[in-house]
Symmetry: C2
Subunit: 136 residues, 2 copies
């Protein structure tokens, strides 16, 4: 390995993946600070995210890399990556292409707010899922 | 159960806890949008958080409820609770008492940024851990 490659591997190895080889990842709009979504990454997805400058998660249900936006077009352009004090949570500062991160067609996945004993939907659908995924 | 109690239980049961009975929780400063920390909650901690209006996590290492700030004084006052589209991630909008969430004495736990093949510390310690925890 060259010195560069060695250094390059180190930062990926400093991440503390869980017993499934995964680390939680929070995606935050770099401009507005809005939290867009939460998903999981493995070592390879984190590496690809930095290489592509676009966010690649790991889909636990499909058990494969998940290039966010591959079907919807709503990719996430990487602005900054952070890690927490315990090296076991990733924060992705992103630009959300199309302004929609959620599969429901809302900007953010966190569109339900607790009030009066229930979860109330407080954000609008910007584009219907049919419109987003309909051409597949 | 009264109608109120029944309703009150429902919102807690709508949360999809993982196989350990836990759900990831993101704490965001309600004013600035800064992401302060990430931790885990169980059903009881979520219930207590809403009842106390102060954040109570579940400590996986200590295997018990963790009233954030109980030793440091850096409690988190609850402003709003959100849940994501899959009902399996909690977003806590908070006011961080003392302005410090991290045990290292920094405002946020996400103080390391990826650059040039390494994680670089980009936020200052506001108060030393000795000063925060020294009177214990």
């Amino acid at each position: 390995m060259t010195e560069y490659e060695e250094k390059y591997m180190n930062w990926l190895d400093e991440v503390k993946y869980n017993e499934d080889g995964l680390v939680p990842a929070i995606a935050q709009d770099a401009e507005t600070g809005k939290i867009m979504m939460f998903a999981w990454m493995n070592r390879e997805s984190l590496q690809q995210t930095v290489e592509k400058n676009e966010v690649v998660y790991y889909s636990r249900s499909r058990q494969q890399l998940w290039h966010k936006g591959e079907s919807s077009g709503h990719t996430q352009l990487l602005k900054e990556v952070r890690i927490d004090c315990d090296n076991d949570v990733i924060l992705l500062m992103i630009e959300q292409v199309g302004g929609i991160a959620c599969h429901t067609g809302r900007a953010s996945c966190f569109f339900k707010r607790y009030a009066d004993g229930e979860w109330q939907t407080v954000e609008d659908v910007l584009k219907s899922p049919e419109e987003i995924y309909g051409d597949q």
